[in-house]
């Protein structure tokens, strides 16, 4: 059961994991909005350790102004569920 839905306010987990991961550095710690559910896929972080973990993948929209401090564009990034935490409060 997917934890988040379209419209969920989420935050990409901050921090720098030791191994392989597919969270781009530029979104870590930043707040975004789920704009799509992209199905369940094998988690790469576990796969490289020889473990099969499958999780929902979300399309998460980030505002350029939040990421870079400037820019009017959006960046939509696909993130596995364990890369995300709930973001509380209003923007």
């Amino acid at each position: 059961m997917a934890r988040f839905t379209v419209g969920s306010a989420v935050r990409a987990r901050p921090g720098d994991p030791d191994g392989h991961t597919r969270v781009p550095r530029y979104v870590r710690g930043h707040r975004g909005e789920v704009v799509g559910l992209h199905g369940d896929w094998k988690l790469p972080d576990a796969a490289v350790r020889g473990t099969l973990v499958t999780e929902p993948v979300y399309a998460v929209r980030f505002r350029a102004a939040d990421l870079w401090g400037h820019g009017g564009h959006d960046v939509i990034v696909e993130l596995w569920e364990s890369y995300l935490e709930e973001a509380a409060g209003e923007r």
């Binding site: 191994g19 392989h20 550095r25 530029y26 094998k42 790469p44 796969a47 490289v48 870079w68």
Partner: protein, 85 residues
């Protein structure tokens, strides 16, 4: 790499041979052959590319990075150790 500054202008379009160099096709074929055999996985291949030391990573072209990753995995998995498979 997303958002990293200092990389300058994009390479001129049309500066590449349409199908790539022959050795690149061989690197690609080698990679897929090993994957088809289940000897290397897609995630660990990407991971190996990411483990190329940064200075080297930035000095290699795309398929050179693939080749470097193959060398890393072949070594780590001992694919050439001993006689025969």
């Amino acid at each position: 790499m997303g958002g990293q500054t200092g990389f300058g202008a994009l390479p001129a379009p049309g500066a590449e041979p349409p199908a790539g160099a022959d050795w690149e096709a061989h690197v690609r074929a080698l990679t897929y052959a090993l994957m088809d055999r289940g000897l290397i996985g897609g995630d660990e291949f990407r991971d190996a590319i990411e483990r190329i030391p940064p200075a080297e990573y930035l000095s290699l072209s795309y398929f050179e990075r693939w080749f470097a990753a193959l060398e890393i995995l072949v070594r780590e998995k001992g694919l050439l150790d001993g006689a025969g498979g």
